[in-house]
Protein backbone atom coordinates (compact mmCIF):
# COMPACT_ATOMS: atom_id res chain seq x y z
CA UNK A 1 0.00 0.00 0.00
CA UNK A 2 1.57 3.27 -1.08
CA UNK A 3 1.71 6.46 0.91
CA UNK A 4 -1.56 7.85 -0.41
CA UNK A 5 -3.57 4.95 0.87
CA UNK A 6 -1.26 4.49 3.83
CA UNK A 7 -2.25 7.91 5.15
CA UNK A 8 -5.88 7.15 4.51
CA UNK A 9 -5.67 3.83 6.31
CA UNK A 10 -3.93 5.43 9.26
CA UNK A 11 -6.67 8.01 9.45
CA UNK A 12 -9.35 5.37 9.26
CA UNK A 13 -7.72 3.36 11.99
CA UNK A 14 -7.58 6.44 14.18
CA UNK A 15 -11.23 7.30 13.86
CA UNK A 16 -12.86 3.87 13.69
CA UNK A 17 -14.77 3.35 16.96
CA UNK A 18 -15.15 0.15 18.91
CA UNK A 19 -18.41 -1.70 18.54
CA UNK A 20 -20.82 -0.93 21.34
CA UNK A 21 -20.62 -3.81 23.81
CA UNK A 22 -24.35 -4.02 24.42
CA UNK A 23 -25.23 -3.95 20.74
CA UNK A 24 -22.51 -6.49 20.12
CA UNK A 25 -24.05 -8.88 22.63
CA UNK A 26 -27.53 -8.28 21.24
CA UNK A 27 -26.47 -8.86 17.67
CA UNK A 28 -24.59 -12.04 18.51
CA UNK A 29 -27.61 -13.33 20.42
CA UNK A 30 -29.87 -12.43 17.50
CA UNK A 31 -27.71 -14.34 15.07
CA UNK A 32 -27.56 -17.40 17.30
CA UNK A 33 -31.33 -17.34 17.84
CA UNK A 34 -31.98 -17.07 14.13
CA UNK A 35 -29.54 -19.90 13.54
CA UNK A 36 -31.39 -22.17 15.97
CA UNK A 37 -34.75 -21.23 14.51
CA UNK A 38 -33.52 -21.99 11.04
CA UNK A 39 -32.18 -25.37 12.11
CA UNK A 40 -35.50 -26.19 13.75
CA UNK A 41 -37.45 -25.24 10.64
CA UNK A 42 -35.13 -27.19 8.38
CA UNK A 43 -35.34 -30.25 10.62
CA UNK A 44 -39.10 -30.37 10.30
CA UNK A 45 -40.43 -32.66 7.68
CA UNK A 46 -41.54 -30.94 4.55
CA UNK A 47 -45.28 -31.17 3.96
CA UNK A 48 -46.16 -33.84 1.47
CA UNK A 49 -48.71 -33.58 -1.24
CA UNK A 50 -52.03 -35.11 -0.38
CA UNK A 51 -52.49 -36.01 -4.02
CA UNK A 52 -52.58 -39.78 -4.44
CA UNK A 53 -49.77 -41.43 -6.29
CA UNK A 54 -50.37 -42.34 -9.88
CA UNK A 55 -51.06 -46.01 -10.25
CA UNK A 56 -52.17 -48.38 -12.96
CA UNK A 57 -55.78 -47.88 -11.91
CA UNK A 58 -55.36 -44.12 -12.29
CA UNK A 59 -54.99 -44.57 -16.02
CA UNK A 60 -58.03 -46.84 -16.22
CA UNK A 61 -60.12 -44.35 -14.31
CA UNK A 62 -58.93 -41.56 -16.58
CA UNK A 63 -59.84 -43.62 -19.63
CA UNK A 64 -63.29 -44.38 -18.27
CA UNK A 65 -63.80 -40.76 -17.39
CA UNK A 66 -62.95 -39.71 -20.89
CA UNK A 67 -65.39 -42.25 -22.39
CA UNK A 68 -68.53 -40.24 -22.16
CA UNK A 69 -70.63 -41.49 -25.09
CA UNK A 70 -73.56 -43.75 -24.33
CA UNK A 71 -72.28 -46.56 -26.55
CA UNK A 72 -68.80 -46.50 -25.04
CA UNK A 73 -70.16 -46.57 -21.49
CA UNK A 74 -72.49 -49.46 -22.32
CA UNK A 75 -69.69 -51.45 -23.92
CA UNK A 76 -67.17 -50.94 -21.09
CA UNK A 77 -69.76 -51.70 -18.43
CA UNK A 78 -70.69 -54.91 -20.19
CA UNK A 79 -67.04 -55.96 -20.46
CA UNK A 80 -66.39 -55.30 -16.77
CA UNK A 81 -69.58 -57.09 -15.70
CA UNK A 82 -68.61 -60.09 -17.81
CA UNK A 83 -65.21 -60.15 -16.16
CA UNK A 84 -66.77 -60.17 -12.68
CA UNK A 85 -69.05 -63.05 -13.61
CA UNK A 86 -66.05 -65.08 -14.63
CA UNK A 87 -63.92 -64.21 -11.60
CA UNK A 88 -66.37 -64.12 -8.69
CA UNK A 89 -67.26 -67.82 -8.44
CA UNK A 90 -63.59 -68.64 -7.89
CA UNK A 91 -63.11 -65.85 -5.36
CA UNK A 92 -66.11 -66.90 -3.35
CA UNK A 93 -64.46 -70.28 -2.77
CA UNK A 94 -61.16 -68.81 -1.65
CA UNK A 95 -62.24 -65.91 0.57
CA UNK A 96 -63.99 -66.33 3.88
CA UNK A 97 -65.37 -63.22 5.48
CA UNK A 98 -65.58 -62.96 9.29
CA UNK A 99 -69.03 -62.50 10.67
CA UNK A 100 -69.74 -58.84 11.40
CA UNK A 101 -71.16 -58.00 14.78
CA UNK A 102 -74.60 -56.54 15.04
CA UNK A 103 -74.55 -53.15 16.59
CA UNK A 104 -77.50 -51.14 17.74
CA UNK A 105 -76.85 -47.54 16.89
CA UNK A 106 -78.64 -44.34 17.68
CA UNK A 107 -79.53 -41.57 15.36
CA UNK A 108 -79.00 -37.95 16.28
CA UNK A 109 -82.37 -37.74 17.94
CA UNK A 110 -81.39 -40.42 20.35
CA UNK A 111 -83.92 -42.94 19.06
CA UNK A 112 -83.03 -46.57 18.81
CA UNK A 113 -82.90 -47.66 15.20
CA UNK A 114 -83.05 -51.06 13.68
CA UNK A 115 -79.95 -53.19 14.18
CA UNK A 116 -77.54 -52.63 11.35
CA UNK A 117 -74.73 -54.68 10.04
CA UNK A 118 -71.58 -52.68 10.53
CA UNK A 119 -67.98 -53.54 10.06
CA UNK A 120 -64.68 -51.88 10.81
CA UNK A 121 -62.61 -51.71 13.96
CA UNK A 122 -64.25 -48.64 15.45
CA UNK A 123 -67.62 -50.33 15.85
CA UNK A 124 -66.74 -53.84 16.91
CA UNK A 125 -66.47 -55.49 20.26
CA UNK A 126 -62.74 -55.64 19.66
CA UNK A 127 -62.43 -51.95 20.48
CA UNK A 128 -60.51 -52.33 23.65
CA UNK A 129 -58.24 -49.89 25.45
CA UNK A 130 -55.35 -51.93 24.17
CA UNK A 131 -56.37 -51.25 20.61
CA UNK A 132 -56.77 -47.59 21.39
CA UNK A 133 -53.27 -47.52 22.74
CA UNK A 134 -51.89 -48.81 19.50
CA UNK A 135 -53.97 -46.39 17.48
CA UNK A 136 -54.40 -43.15 19.42
CA UNK A 137 -57.66 -41.45 18.63
CA UNK A 138 -56.22 -38.01 18.81
CA UNK A 139 -53.03 -36.11 19.32
CA UNK A 140 -51.81 -35.73 22.90
CA UNK A 141 -52.60 -32.37 24.38
CA UNK A 142 -50.67 -32.15 27.56
CA UNK A 143 -51.36 -33.42 31.00
CA UNK A 144 -54.06 -32.96 33.55
CA UNK A 145 -53.28 -33.50 37.17
CA UNK A 146 -56.05 -34.22 39.60
CA UNK A 147 -56.01 -32.87 43.07
CA UNK A 148 -56.21 -34.82 46.31
CA UNK A 149 -59.55 -36.02 47.53
CA UNK A 150 -60.53 -34.36 50.76
CA UNK A 151 -63.53 -34.67 52.97
CA UNK A 152 -66.36 -32.54 51.64
CA UNK A 153 -66.65 -29.44 53.76
CA UNK A 154 -70.11 -28.75 54.99
CA UNK A 155 -70.10 -25.28 53.66
CA UNK A 156 -73.37 -25.11 51.88
CA UNK A 157 -75.05 -24.36 55.20
CA UNK A 158 -72.20 -22.88 57.19
CA UNK A 159 -70.37 -19.94 55.72
CA UNK A 160 -66.67 -19.75 56.50
CA UNK A 161 -65.38 -17.31 58.96
CA UNK A 162 -63.86 -14.15 57.70
CA UNK A 163 -60.18 -13.74 57.77
CA UNK A 164 -58.87 -11.42 60.39
CA UNK A 165 -57.70 -8.13 58.95
CA UNK A 166 -54.05 -8.20 58.03
CA UNK A 167 -51.75 -5.29 57.49
CA UNK A 168 -52.42 -3.10 54.51
CA UNK A 169 -54.34 -5.71 52.62
CA UNK A 170 -57.68 -4.78 53.92
CA UNK A 171 -60.45 -2.99 52.18
CA UNK A 172 -62.12 0.10 53.45
CA UNK A 173 -64.52 -1.64 55.75
CA UNK A 174 -61.95 -3.82 57.38
CA UNK A 175 -62.52 -6.81 55.14
CA UNK A 176 -59.21 -8.23 54.03
CA UNK A 177 -58.37 -8.75 50.38
CA UNK A 178 -56.43 -11.88 51.08
CA UNK A 179 -57.22 -14.46 48.45
CA UNK A 180 -57.15 -18.17 48.82
CA UNK A 181 -54.85 -19.69 46.32
CA UNK A 182 -55.06 -22.74 44.22
CA UNK A 183 -52.19 -23.41 41.98
CA UNK A 184 -52.22 -24.95 38.59
CA UNK A 185 -48.51 -25.36 38.41
CA UNK A 186 -46.39 -28.46 38.51
CA UNK A 187 -45.55 -28.09 42.20
CA UNK A 188 -48.19 -30.56 43.19
CA UNK A 189 -47.55 -32.92 46.07
CA UNK A 190 -46.12 -36.14 44.81
CA UNK A 191 -48.82 -38.27 46.30
CA UNK A 192 -51.50 -36.68 44.18
CA UNK A 193 -53.08 -38.81 41.54
CA UNK A 194 -51.83 -38.16 38.06
CA UNK A 195 -54.17 -38.65 35.19
CA UNK A 196 -51.89 -38.07 32.29
CA UNK A 197 -53.11 -37.77 28.74
CA UNK A 198 -49.77 -38.21 27.11
CA UNK A 199 -49.44 -40.28 23.97
CA UNK A 200 -48.27 -43.33 25.85
CA UNK A 201 -51.36 -43.81 27.90
CA UNK A 202 -53.99 -42.07 25.89
CA UNK A 203 -55.80 -45.36 25.54
CA UNK A 204 -56.29 -45.43 29.29
CA UNK A 205 -57.47 -41.82 29.49
CA UNK A 206 -60.94 -41.15 30.72
CA UNK A 207 -62.05 -39.84 27.36
CA UNK A 208 -60.83 -42.94 25.52
CA UNK A 209 -62.42 -45.32 28.03
CA UNK A 210 -65.72 -43.46 27.95
CA UNK A 211 -65.76 -43.41 24.20
CA UNK A 212 -64.83 -47.07 23.87
CA UNK A 213 -67.51 -48.12 26.34
CA UNK A 214 -70.24 -46.09 24.67
CA UNK A 215 -69.27 -47.38 21.24
CA UNK A 216 -69.54 -50.91 22.60
CA UNK A 217 -73.05 -50.07 23.67
CA UNK A 218 -72.29 -49.86 27.37
CA UNK A 219 -72.27 -47.08 29.88
CA UNK A 220 -68.74 -46.63 31.22
CA UNK A 221 -67.98 -47.49 34.83
CA UNK A 222 -68.67 -44.31 36.84
CA UNK A 223 -65.23 -44.34 38.39
CA UNK A 224 -63.61 -44.26 34.95
CA UNK A 225 -65.13 -40.88 34.18
CA UNK A 226 -62.95 -37.92 35.13
CA UNK A 227 -64.78 -34.67 34.69
CA UNK A 228 -61.75 -32.41 34.40
CA UNK A 229 -60.26 -34.60 31.71
CA UNK A 230 -63.47 -34.63 29.74
CA UNK A 231 -63.78 -30.85 29.93
CA UNK A 232 -60.18 -30.35 28.94
CA UNK A 233 -60.48 -32.74 26.02
CA UNK A 234 -63.65 -31.44 24.49
CA UNK A 235 -63.51 -27.77 25.33
CA UNK A 236 -59.85 -26.82 25.15
CA UNK A 237 -58.56 -27.19 21.66
CA UNK A 238 -61.04 -25.03 19.83
CA UNK A 239 -60.63 -22.03 22.06
CA UNK A 240 -59.19 -19.11 20.17
CA UNK A 241 -57.58 -16.39 22.19
CA UNK A 242 -57.49 -12.83 21.00
CA UNK A 243 -53.97 -12.11 19.85
CA UNK A 244 -54.39 -8.50 18.93
CA UNK A 245 -52.64 -7.36 22.06
CA UNK A 246 -48.98 -7.83 22.78
CA UNK A 247 -49.74 -10.61 25.25
CA UNK A 248 -52.87 -12.65 25.59
CA UNK A 249 -53.85 -13.70 29.05
CA UNK A 250 -56.42 -16.24 30.13
CA UNK A 251 -60.06 -15.83 29.18
CA UNK A 252 -62.31 -16.15 32.19
CA UNK A 253 -66.06 -16.50 32.15
CA UNK A 254 -68.44 -16.96 35.04
CA UNK A 255 -71.81 -18.53 34.36
CA UNK A 256 -74.64 -19.96 36.38
CA UNK A 257 -74.20 -23.67 37.05
CA UNK A 258 -76.80 -25.33 34.84
CA UNK A 259 -77.59 -28.09 37.36
CA UNK A 260 -77.28 -26.08 40.57
CA UNK A 261 -78.94 -22.72 41.10
CA UNK A 262 -76.82 -22.08 44.19
CA UNK A 263 -73.42 -22.17 42.56
CA UNK A 264 -71.57 -20.64 39.64
CA UNK A 265 -69.02 -22.00 37.23
CA UNK A 266 -65.76 -20.22 36.47
CA UNK A 267 -64.37 -21.24 33.12
CA UNK A 268 -60.71 -20.46 32.49
CA UNK A 269 -59.07 -21.02 29.15
CA UNK A 270 -55.52 -20.45 28.09
CA UNK A 271 -53.98 -21.25 24.80
CA UNK A 272 -50.41 -20.74 23.66
CA UNK A 273 -49.86 -19.42 20.22
CA UNK A 274 -46.66 -19.42 18.26
CA UNK A 275 -47.56 -16.70 15.87
CA UNK A 276 -48.46 -13.05 16.03
CA UNK A 277 -47.39 -12.40 19.59
CA UNK A 278 -43.88 -11.29 18.77
CA UNK A 279 -41.42 -11.25 21.57
CA UNK A 280 -44.12 -11.79 24.14
CA UNK A 281 -45.36 -15.03 22.67
CA UNK A 282 -46.42 -17.67 25.13
CA UNK A 283 -44.86 -20.28 22.93
CA UNK A 284 -42.47 -21.61 25.50
CA UNK A 285 -40.35 -24.51 24.48
CA UNK A 286 -41.53 -26.56 27.40
CA UNK A 287 -44.56 -26.57 29.59
CA UNK A 288 -42.36 -25.61 32.54
CA UNK A 289 -42.38 -22.09 31.16
CA UNK A 290 -46.08 -21.61 31.76
CA UNK A 291 -47.95 -21.77 35.03
CA UNK A 292 -51.49 -20.93 35.92
CA UNK A 293 -52.48 -19.73 39.38
CA UNK A 294 -56.06 -19.30 40.49
CA UNK A 295 -57.03 -17.28 43.56
CA UNK A 296 -60.48 -16.76 45.03
CA UNK A 297 -61.64 -13.91 47.18
CA UNK A 298 -62.99 -15.28 50.49
CA UNK A 299 -65.44 -12.41 50.71
CA UNK A 300 -67.15 -13.40 47.52
CA UNK A 301 -66.53 -17.13 47.42
CA UNK A 302 -67.30 -19.50 50.23
CA UNK A 303 -66.10 -22.68 48.61
CA UNK A 304 -64.69 -23.81 45.35
CA UNK A 305 -63.50 -26.88 43.55
CA UNK A 306 -62.74 -28.23 40.12
CA UNK A 307 -65.99 -29.58 38.76
CA UNK A 308 -66.05 -33.24 39.60
CA UNK A 309 -63.84 -32.81 42.64
CA UNK A 310 -65.12 -32.09 46.08
CA UNK A 311 -65.58 -28.47 46.92
CA UNK A 312 -63.53 -27.08 49.72
CA UNK A 313 -63.54 -24.01 51.85
CA UNK A 314 -61.27 -21.13 51.15
CA UNK A 315 -59.34 -21.51 54.35
CA UNK A 316 -58.14 -24.83 53.09
CA UNK A 317 -55.04 -23.76 51.22
CA UNK A 318 -54.15 -27.19 49.91
CA UNK A 319 -53.05 -27.15 46.35
CA UNK A 320 -55.72 -28.66 44.18
CA UNK A 321 -56.38 -29.37 40.53
CA UNK A 322 -53.36 -28.72 38.46
CA UNK A 323 -52.69 -28.64 34.80
CA UNK A 324 -49.95 -27.79 32.38
CA UNK A 325 -50.02 -27.22 28.68
CA UNK A 326 -47.57 -26.76 25.91
CA UNK A 327 -47.27 -23.94 23.45
CA UNK A 328 -49.67 -25.09 20.80
CA UNK A 329 -52.53 -26.52 22.75
CA UNK A 330 -54.84 -24.90 25.17
CA UNK A 331 -56.37 -25.73 28.45
CA UNK A 332 -59.90 -25.47 29.68
CA UNK A 333 -60.49 -25.50 33.42
CA UNK A 334 -63.86 -25.35 35.11
CA UNK A 335 -64.25 -24.40 38.76
CA UNK A 336 -67.49 -24.52 40.67
CA UNK A 337 -67.86 -21.89 43.34
CA UNK A 338 -70.47 -21.21 45.97
CA UNK A 339 -71.15 -17.61 46.91
CA UNK A 340 -69.63 -16.03 49.97
CA UNK A 341 -71.30 -13.72 52.40
CA UNK A 342 -73.24 -12.24 49.58
CA UNK A 343 -71.94 -8.74 49.83
CA UNK A 344 -70.69 -6.87 46.81
CA UNK A 345 -67.92 -4.67 48.02
CA UNK A 346 -67.28 -1.64 45.90
CA UNK A 347 -63.63 -1.14 45.14
CA UNK A 348 -64.12 2.23 43.53
CA UNK A 349 -65.73 3.52 40.36
CA UNK A 350 -68.68 1.27 40.99
CA UNK A 351 -66.74 -1.87 40.31
CA UNK A 352 -67.73 -4.87 42.41
CA UNK A 353 -65.11 -6.73 44.31
CA UNK A 354 -63.81 -9.52 42.06
CA UNK A 355 -64.47 -13.14 42.81
CA UNK A 356 -60.75 -13.71 42.54
CA UNK A 357 -58.03 -13.53 40.01
CA UNK A 358 -56.04 -15.72 37.70
CA UNK A 359 -52.34 -15.16 37.27
CA UNK A 360 -50.59 -16.52 34.24
CA UNK A 361 -46.89 -16.87 34.83
CA UNK A 362 -44.79 -17.35 31.76
CA UNK A 363 -41.29 -16.96 30.48
CA UNK A 364 -40.62 -15.96 26.93
CA UNK A 365 -38.31 -18.21 24.97
CA UNK A 366 -34.72 -17.40 25.84
CA UNK A 367 -35.99 -14.91 28.39
CA UNK A 368 -34.31 -14.61 31.73
CA UNK A 369 -37.21 -13.46 33.82
CA UNK A 370 -40.81 -14.38 34.49
CA UNK A 371 -43.74 -12.37 33.27
CA UNK A 372 -47.16 -12.31 34.83
CA UNK A 373 -50.60 -11.48 33.54
CA UNK A 374 -53.20 -10.93 36.21
CA UNK A 375 -56.81 -11.22 35.19
CA UNK A 376 -59.65 -10.66 37.64
CA UNK A 377 -62.52 -13.09 37.92
CA UNK A 378 -65.66 -11.06 37.75
CA UNK A 379 -69.25 -12.03 38.39
CA UNK A 380 -71.73 -13.27 35.85
CA UNK A 381 -70.34 -12.87 32.36
CA UNK A 382 -72.06 -12.32 29.11
CA UNK A 383 -73.24 -15.36 27.30
CA UNK A 384 -70.24 -17.33 26.22
CA UNK A 385 -70.33 -20.33 23.96
CA UNK A 386 -67.12 -21.87 25.19
CA UNK A 387 -68.03 -21.66 28.86
CA UNK A 388 -71.49 -23.12 28.32
CA UNK A 389 -70.16 -25.93 26.16
CA UNK A 390 -67.58 -26.75 28.82
CA UNK A 391 -70.42 -26.77 31.36
CA UNK A 392 -72.42 -29.15 29.16
CA UNK A 393 -69.47 -31.54 28.95
CA UNK A 394 -68.94 -31.32 32.71
CA UNK A 395 -72.60 -32.04 33.37
CA UNK A 396 -72.48 -34.95 30.93
CA UNK A 397 -69.48 -36.38 32.74
CA UNK A 398 -71.20 -35.94 36.09
CA UNK A 399 -74.24 -37.78 34.74
CA UNK A 400 -72.00 -40.65 33.66
CA UNK A 401 -70.50 -40.66 37.15
CA UNK A 402 -74.03 -40.79 38.56
CA UNK A 403 -73.02 -37.86 40.69
CA UNK A 404 -75.76 -36.75 43.12
CA UNK A 405 -75.10 -33.11 42.26
CA UNK A 406 -76.80 -33.64 38.88
CA UNK A 407 -79.73 -35.63 40.25
CA UNK A 408 -82.10 -32.96 39.01
CA UNK A 409 -80.47 -32.69 35.61
CA UNK A 410 -80.69 -34.91 32.54
CA UNK A 411 -78.87 -35.96 29.41
CA UNK A 412 -81.52 -34.13 27.45
CA UNK A 413 -80.54 -30.86 29.09
CA UNK A 414 -76.84 -31.54 28.58
CA UNK A 415 -77.46 -32.23 24.90
CA UNK A 416 -79.57 -29.11 24.48
CA UNK A 417 -76.93 -26.95 26.16
CA UNK A 418 -74.13 -28.47 24.07
CA UNK A 419 -76.09 -28.16 20.85
CA UNK A 420 -76.85 -24.51 21.49
CA UNK A 421 -73.19 -23.77 22.15
CA UNK A 422 -71.41 -26.02 19.69
CA UNK A 423 -70.07 -23.00 17.80
CA UNK A 424 -67.86 -23.36 14.75
CA UNK A 425 -66.28 -26.58 16.05
CA UNK A 426 -63.32 -26.48 13.67
CA UNK A 427 -61.84 -29.71 15.02
CA UNK A 428 -65.08 -31.68 15.21
CA UNK A 429 -64.53 -32.57 18.87
CA UNK A 430 -67.72 -30.89 19.99
CA UNK A 431 -69.77 -32.81 17.47
CA UNK A 432 -68.16 -35.98 18.72
CA UNK A 433 -69.04 -35.01 22.30
CA UNK A 434 -72.65 -34.55 21.25
CA UNK A 435 -72.72 -37.97 19.63
CA UNK A 436 -71.37 -39.55 22.79
CA UNK A 437 -73.98 -37.70 24.83
CA UNK A 438 -76.74 -39.10 22.64
CA UNK A 439 -75.31 -42.59 22.85
CA UNK A 440 -75.20 -42.33 26.64
CA UNK A 441 -78.71 -40.94 26.76
CA UNK A 442 -80.05 -43.88 24.77
CA UNK A 443 -78.19 -46.39 26.93
CA UNK A 444 -79.26 -44.75 30.17
CA UNK A 445 -82.89 -44.84 29.20
Amino acid sequence: MNDDLGDLKATFDAVTPQADAARRAENLALAERNFRDLQRVQSQERPKSARPLKQFSTGIRAALTSLSSKKALTTTTAVIAGGFLLIMPQMQDSISLPPSPQITTLDFDGEVTEPQIESGPMLTDDLTPDLLQREPLTEPFGEVLRGPVVEPPELQADKPERFAPEGDDQLGDGVPMRFATTSADMAVPENEALASLSATDLGQSSYALVRAALMRGELPPPDAVHVAEMVSHFAADSIVIDTTGPVTGPIIRTIQTPWNANTSLVHITVQGREESLGVNTLAGESSDNIRLEVMFNPVQVAAFGRVGDDMRSLDDSDRVGAASFDAEQGISVLYEISPGVGRLIETGAGQPDPLGQVVLHFRVPDGDRDHEIETPIIGQSRSNTDAFFAAAVAGFALLLREDPSVAGWSYDEAISLAEANRGADPFGHRTEALQLMRLAQGLAE
Binding site: L5, K9, V15, P17, A19, R24, E26, E32, L38
Partner: protein, 178 residues
Protein backbone atom coordinates in the same frame (compact mmCIF):
# COMPACT_ATOMS: atom_id res chain seq x y z
CA UNK B 1 -4.91 -25.88 18.10
CA UNK B 2 -7.24 -23.23 16.71
CA UNK B 3 -9.95 -24.41 14.40
CA UNK B 4 -9.78 -22.62 11.09
CA UNK B 5 -12.48 -20.24 9.98
CA UNK B 6 -13.30 -22.50 7.09
CA UNK B 7 -13.76 -25.55 9.33
CA UNK B 8 -16.02 -23.55 11.63
CA UNK B 9 -18.06 -22.29 8.71
CA UNK B 10 -18.39 -25.78 7.27
CA UNK B 11 -19.53 -27.14 10.62
CA UNK B 12 -21.98 -24.26 11.04
CA UNK B 13 -23.38 -24.92 7.58
CA UNK B 14 -24.05 -28.47 8.76
CA UNK B 15 -26.04 -27.15 11.72
CA UNK B 16 -23.41 -26.81 14.43
CA UNK B 17 -24.64 -23.90 16.55
CA UNK B 18 -21.45 -23.71 18.61
CA UNK B 19 -19.34 -23.44 15.50
CA UNK B 20 -21.57 -20.68 14.21
CA UNK B 21 -21.34 -18.77 17.48
CA UNK B 22 -17.55 -19.14 17.59
CA UNK B 23 -17.17 -18.00 14.02
CA UNK B 24 -19.29 -14.92 14.51
CA UNK B 25 -17.65 -14.05 17.81
CA UNK B 26 -14.27 -14.27 16.12
CA UNK B 27 -15.17 -11.95 13.27
CA UNK B 28 -17.68 -9.56 14.79
CA UNK B 29 -15.32 -6.67 15.51
CA UNK B 30 -13.70 -6.84 12.12
CA UNK B 31 -17.11 -6.99 10.53
CA UNK B 32 -18.19 -3.93 12.46
CA UNK B 33 -15.06 -2.10 11.33
CA UNK B 34 -15.87 -2.82 7.70
CA UNK B 35 -19.44 -1.65 8.24
CA UNK B 36 -18.10 1.56 9.68
CA UNK B 37 -15.88 2.14 6.67
CA UNK B 38 -18.78 1.41 4.37
CA UNK B 39 -21.12 3.84 6.08
CA UNK B 40 -18.96 6.36 7.91
CA UNK B 41 -21.42 6.38 10.79
CA UNK B 42 -21.22 4.48 14.02
CA UNK B 43 -24.97 4.13 14.41
CA UNK B 44 -25.34 3.09 10.78
CA UNK B 45 -22.56 0.59 11.26
CA UNK B 46 -24.27 -0.86 14.31
CA UNK B 47 -27.53 -1.22 12.40
CA UNK B 48 -25.83 -2.70 9.38
CA UNK B 49 -24.00 -5.22 11.53
CA UNK B 50 -27.32 -6.16 13.09
CA UNK B 51 -28.82 -6.71 9.63
CA UNK B 52 -25.94 -8.96 8.74
CA UNK B 53 -26.18 -10.95 11.98
CA UNK B 54 -29.88 -11.49 11.45
CA UNK B 55 -29.40 -12.71 7.89
CA UNK B 56 -26.18 -14.64 8.34
CA UNK B 57 -27.74 -18.00 9.34
CA UNK B 58 -29.67 -18.05 6.07
CA UNK B 59 -26.70 -16.84 4.06
CA UNK B 60 -24.58 -19.59 5.53
CA UNK B 61 -26.14 -22.12 3.21
CA UNK B 62 -24.47 -20.27 0.36
CA UNK B 63 -21.02 -20.61 1.81
CA UNK B 64 -18.70 -22.67 -0.38
CA UNK B 65 -15.76 -24.32 1.28
CA UNK B 66 -13.39 -23.17 -1.43
CA UNK B 67 -13.83 -19.53 -0.45
CA UNK B 68 -12.15 -17.86 2.48
CA UNK B 69 -14.59 -17.09 5.23
CA UNK B 70 -13.57 -13.45 5.33
CA UNK B 71 -14.21 -13.13 1.61
CA UNK B 72 -17.65 -14.67 1.97
CA UNK B 73 -18.43 -12.62 5.07
CA UNK B 74 -17.36 -9.36 3.47
CA UNK B 75 -19.44 -10.13 0.41
CA UNK B 76 -22.45 -10.52 2.67
CA UNK B 77 -21.58 -7.20 4.32
CA UNK B 78 -21.14 -5.26 1.09
CA UNK B 79 -24.41 -6.63 -0.29
CA UNK B 80 -26.18 -5.76 2.96
CA UNK B 81 -24.79 -2.21 2.73
CA UNK B 82 -26.12 -1.89 -0.81
CA UNK B 83 -29.51 -3.18 0.29
CA UNK B 84 -29.57 -0.72 3.14
CA UNK B 85 -28.77 2.20 0.87
CA UNK B 86 -31.51 1.16 -1.53
CA UNK B 87 -34.05 0.96 1.27
CA UNK B 88 -33.06 4.36 2.60
CA UNK B 89 -33.31 5.88 -0.86
CA UNK B 90 -36.83 4.52 -1.22
CA UNK B 91 -38.30 6.67 1.51
CA UNK B 92 -35.68 9.28 2.28
CA UNK B 93 -34.02 11.48 -0.19
CA UNK B 94 -30.74 9.83 0.35
CA UNK B 95 -27.93 12.03 1.41
CA UNK B 96 -25.18 10.61 -0.65
CA UNK B 97 -22.64 11.77 1.82
CA UNK B 98 -20.53 9.60 3.97
CA UNK B 99 -20.41 9.72 7.69
CA UNK B 100 -22.24 11.39 10.48
CA UNK B 101 -19.24 12.49 12.31
CA UNK B 102 -20.95 14.78 14.70
CA UNK B 103 -21.68 11.72 16.82
CA UNK B 104 -18.48 9.91 16.09
CA UNK B 105 -15.88 12.30 17.30
CA UNK B 106 -14.20 10.19 19.85
CA UNK B 107 -11.35 12.50 20.65
CA UNK B 108 -11.33 16.07 21.64
CA UNK B 109 -7.87 16.92 20.47
CA UNK B 110 -7.63 19.13 17.45
CA UNK B 111 -5.37 16.83 15.50
CA UNK B 112 -7.88 14.03 15.50
CA UNK B 113 -10.72 16.38 14.74
CA UNK B 114 -8.76 17.66 11.79
CA UNK B 115 -8.23 14.08 10.61
CA UNK B 116 -11.93 13.40 10.84
CA UNK B 117 -12.84 16.52 8.99
CA UNK B 118 -10.43 15.71 6.22
CA UNK B 119 -11.65 12.11 5.96
CA UNK B 120 -15.25 13.19 5.81
CA UNK B 121 -14.48 15.74 3.17
CA UNK B 122 -12.38 13.30 1.16
CA UNK B 123 -14.81 10.40 1.26
CA UNK B 124 -17.64 12.64 0.24
CA UNK B 125 -15.72 13.44 -2.93
CA UNK B 126 -15.80 9.78 -3.92
CA UNK B 127 -18.58 7.79 -5.47
CA UNK B 128 -20.19 4.89 -3.61
CA UNK B 129 -18.33 2.36 -5.75
CA UNK B 130 -14.99 3.93 -4.99
CA UNK B 131 -15.75 4.16 -1.28
CA UNK B 132 -16.79 0.52 -1.08
CA UNK B 133 -13.68 -0.55 -2.94
CA UNK B 134 -11.47 1.52 -0.68
CA UNK B 135 -13.18 0.11 2.39
CA UNK B 136 -12.07 -3.36 1.37
CA UNK B 137 -8.59 -2.42 0.23
CA UNK B 138 -7.98 -0.57 3.48
CA UNK B 139 -8.89 -3.80 5.28
CA UNK B 140 -5.85 -5.40 3.69
CA UNK B 141 -7.83 -7.18 1.02
CA UNK B 142 -6.00 -7.81 -2.25
CA UNK B 143 -7.46 -6.48 -5.46
CA UNK B 144 -8.44 -10.00 -6.43
CA UNK B 145 -10.26 -10.58 -3.14
CA UNK B 146 -11.99 -7.21 -3.37
CA UNK B 147 -13.06 -8.02 -6.91
CA UNK B 148 -14.47 -11.34 -5.76
CA UNK B 149 -16.40 -9.66 -2.97
CA UNK B 150 -17.83 -6.81 -5.01
CA UNK B 151 -18.45 -8.97 -8.02
CA UNK B 152 -16.38 -7.07 -10.55
CA UNK B 153 -13.16 -7.85 -12.34
CA UNK B 154 -9.80 -7.38 -10.69
CA UNK B 155 -8.99 -4.78 -13.32
CA UNK B 156 -12.01 -2.76 -12.31
CA UNK B 157 -10.87 -2.78 -8.72
CA UNK B 158 -7.40 -1.66 -9.73
CA UNK B 159 -8.89 1.15 -11.79
CA UNK B 160 -11.13 2.21 -8.89
CA UNK B 161 -8.20 2.27 -6.49
CA UNK B 162 -6.22 4.30 -8.95
CA UNK B 163 -9.12 6.67 -9.40
CA UNK B 164 -9.55 7.04 -5.66
CA UNK B 165 -5.88 7.85 -5.21
CA UNK B 166 -6.09 10.47 -7.96
CA UNK B 167 -9.06 12.12 -6.29
CA UNK B 168 -7.37 12.11 -2.92
CA UNK B 169 -4.25 13.70 -4.40
CA UNK B 170 -6.38 16.40 -6.01
CA UNK B 171 -8.00 17.09 -2.69
CA UNK B 172 -4.63 17.42 -1.00
CA UNK B 173 -3.31 19.68 -3.72
CA UNK B 174 -6.32 21.95 -3.36
CA UNK B 175 -5.82 22.07 0.38
CA UNK B 176 -2.14 22.90 -0.05
CA UNK B 177 -2.95 25.69 -2.46
CA UNK B 178 -5.52 27.06 -0.06
Amino acid sequence: MITSDEDLAAAAAMGDADAFASLLERHYDRLFGLCFRLTGSRSEAEDLTQDICAALPTKLSGYARRAKVTTWLYRVAVNAAHDRRRKRASYVRARDGWGAWEVNRKASDEATNAQIDWLTHAMNQLSTDLRDTLALILDDMTHAEAADIIGVSEGTVSWRVSEAKKRLREIKEKEDVA
